[in-house]
Structures are given as C-alpha cells and as structure tokens.
C-alpha cells in the first residue's frame, strides 16, 4: 500500500511541476531513476520509444508505463491518476475564473495576442514534426543527408488527400500507417 501511495505522490509532483507537455516530464523521470531501484535509465529509453509508438498523449503513456513497471496494472492506474490530479484542480479553477470574466476587457485583450502566439507555437510544433518525418533532422541542425523521398511523396499525397476529402483525421492516419508498412518506410 505504502509503495502505491509513494508512486501516487511522486507522479503528483511531476504533474505539478512539469509545465508544457509530455517531454517536459522526462527530467523528472530521471530524478526518480536516481532515487529508486525499480526504474532504470534503459527503461526510460524504452518508455520514450513505446510512448511515441502507441496512441495516447505521451505524458500519460509514460506514467502508465512507469507505474506498470512498479506494480502492474494497479500501478499504472495510480501513477496516471497522480499525474493528472494537479491538472484537474488547476484547470477547473482557471476555467471557473474564465467563465466569470469572459466578457472583461482585460481577459479579451490578453487573449487577443495570446491566440496568434499559440497558433505560432502550434505551427512550430508542426514544422518540427514535418522536419523529423521527411528530413529526419531538427530545424536547427538542418541537413539534406537523411532526406527521405518516400516520406516527401506521402506528405504531398496526404496534403491533397486531406484537402480534397472530408474524412475524419483517423482515416488519413490509418492510410499513412498502412502505406508505411507496405512500402517499408
């Protein structure tokens, strides 16, 4: 029992301090690794690979994986609940405030510039996903050496496919996965 309680609080801490998405939890997981024997650096490496190659938000996948290594299915539930507890409380408080002050000039002004900024951040995330998928490289260390022509063709095909049809995004994802397997991407 106390092991599960410890697991819950360790992930509660991560949920409280990891700001900005799944990868932000990584440094905290390395802290856990140096504190406890049930988590190793190799496991963290595996975990990143598995989180990236399964559906679901990465941060949640990581918590589930680490919790499972600690104490099976119940461990994954406890770790994930620990991770999301602070989010739920903080977001409900903010949502509550937002609903009350939705019409206030101050809130409107802040969001007026926040929206284009958030769009810029999302565009940047999209750009790095595309760079990694087609050129297998980061934007800041750009190189043509690993350029993947098959991926570029799929990229162009998917742009046309998603613009010309009204299918749910999952259809495009499923087709891309199938093409990846068929043509050994």
């Amino acid at each position: 029992m106390s092991a599960l309680l410890l697991l819950y609080f360790e992930f509660l801490k991560i949920g409280l301090f990891a700001v900005g998405g799944g990868l932000a939890t990584l440094p905290f997981l390395y802290d856990l690794e140096s504190k406890y024997t049930w988590l190793t650096a190799a496991m963290i490496g595996d975990m990143v690979a598995i989180s990236e190659s399964t559906p679901g938000p990465m941060g949640v996948n990581m918590a589930t994986y680490v919790g499972f290594q600690n104490s099976g299915v119940i461990g994954s539930v406890i770790a994930t609940l620990g991770l999301i507890t602070p989010s739920i409380i903080i977001i409900i408080i903010i949502a509550n405030i937002l609903v009350k002050f939705k019409e206030s000039k101050i809130v409107k002004n802040v969001f007026y510039t926040l929206r284009p900024a958030a769009t810029g951040l999302i565009a940047s995330a999209g750009l790095s996903v595309i760079m990694l998928a087609i050129f297998k490289t980061n934007i800041t260390a750009f190189t043509f050496s690993k350029f993947d022509f098959k991926c570029l063709l799929l990229f162009i095909f998917m742009i046309i496919f998603t613009w010309k049809t009204k299918f749910h995004p999952i259809v495009a994802i499923a087709i891309s996965g199938a093409i990846g397997i068929l043509f050994s991407f």
Binding site: A18, S124, G126, V129, C151
Partner: protein, 184 residues
C-alpha cells in the same frame, strides 16, 4: 449522467487516435469537439492550448478538463480527463505485459514512419484553420510569425513566450484595435 458518459466515451475515442502528444490531438479535437459535437469554438480550443501551455500538466489532459468542465462542471472535467487517459492505460498495460520489444518490431517502425508524416500534415491543416480565428490583421499576423520563428530556432521556453504574449496584449491590444492598425 448521460452527458458524463458521452464526455468519457468521446474523449476515450480521441485518446485512441492521438499519436504523439498534445499537438497531435489538435486536428482530432477540431473535428470532434468543434465540428461534430459543437462543445467549443476554434477560438476556445486555441485559448485552452495557450493556457495548457503555461500551466502544469499535459496539454491533452488540460484541454480535456477544460472542455469537460465547460459542458458539465467539475464532474464533466473529471469524466473527459479520465476518458482521454483510459485507452493509454489499457494499451500500455498490454504492451508492457506481453510485448516487451514492441517498439523494435519492424512493422511498428514502418507504420509510425508513415503516421508521423500524416501527423505533420494534420497539424499543418489545424494551423490553417486556427489562423482564421487568431489572426485579425497585420499586428496579430506579425505576432504569429515572430512566435513561430522564436519557437522553432531558439531554446526559449514556450511558457515564457505565452506569458510575454499575454502581457503584450494586456497593455497594447486595446491600442492596436482602436488605432485601426489591424487593417488587413
């Protein structure tokens, strides 16, 4: 009760089809929450992302809590959030128990090389949709491109970028709109 169940199931479905973190979930959210269910507008989703970016926790979870709370209060927020994490627990549980070398399998690697390309395209499409709600003229367009460049080419944290953009709006948004500097 019916609404809570609907929130749970809808977000569980989105959890299944999200590959790779909060941003990858955005195109799915736009289709399901904005177009189909009409639970939020494009602008609201963008606001949630901006807030999710600078509050603790995972963006996908924060967004789920926001939308659930808006529909059905605190219980709604909890239902949507539990929904979005539910598939992860099942899938990762199965993989951890039975497929230790899942991510090394050739077929998985090929599939994900294809899926990553698609996720890139979907995020690009999401940005084009968001553009219409967020960019009202020259100044907001400049903010968008400035943030894109800063975020892509420097290590400046997105938390700082969001806070700076908010403070800028607090002091200057009124002036920008009044002076008509936002003419297209």
């Amino acid at each position: 009760m019916k609404v809570l169940l609907e929130l749970f199931i809808t977000f569980a479905k989105m959890g299944v089809v999200t590959f790779g973190g909060g941003y990858a979930m955005l195109p799915i959210l736009q289709r399901t929450v904005v177009d189909d269910k009409k639970w939020a507008t494009e602008e609201e989703i963008l606001d949630y992302y901006a807030i999710g970016q600078c509050t603790p926790g995972i963006i996908a979870v924060n967004t789920a809590t926001f939308i659930g709370y808006k529909q059905k209060g605190i219980l709604g927020g909890i239902s949507a959030t539990l929904g979005v994490i539910f598939p992860s627990i099942i899938i990762i549980g199965i993989i951890s128990a039975f497929l230790k070398n899942f991510s090394d399998l050739a077929v998985v690697q090929h599939a994900f090389a294809g899926i990553r390309v698609c996720v890139g395209v979907l995020i690009l499409n999401a940005v084009i949709k968001l553009w219409k709600g967020a960019v009202k003229g020259k100044v907001t367009a400049a903010i968008m491109f400035f943030v894109l460049i800063i975020s892509a080419f420097t290590d400046i944290s997105s938390v700082l970028i969001v806070i700076a953009a908010g403070i800028f709006g607090l002091f200057f948004a009124g002036k920008i709109q009044n002076k008509g500097a936002e003419k297209k």
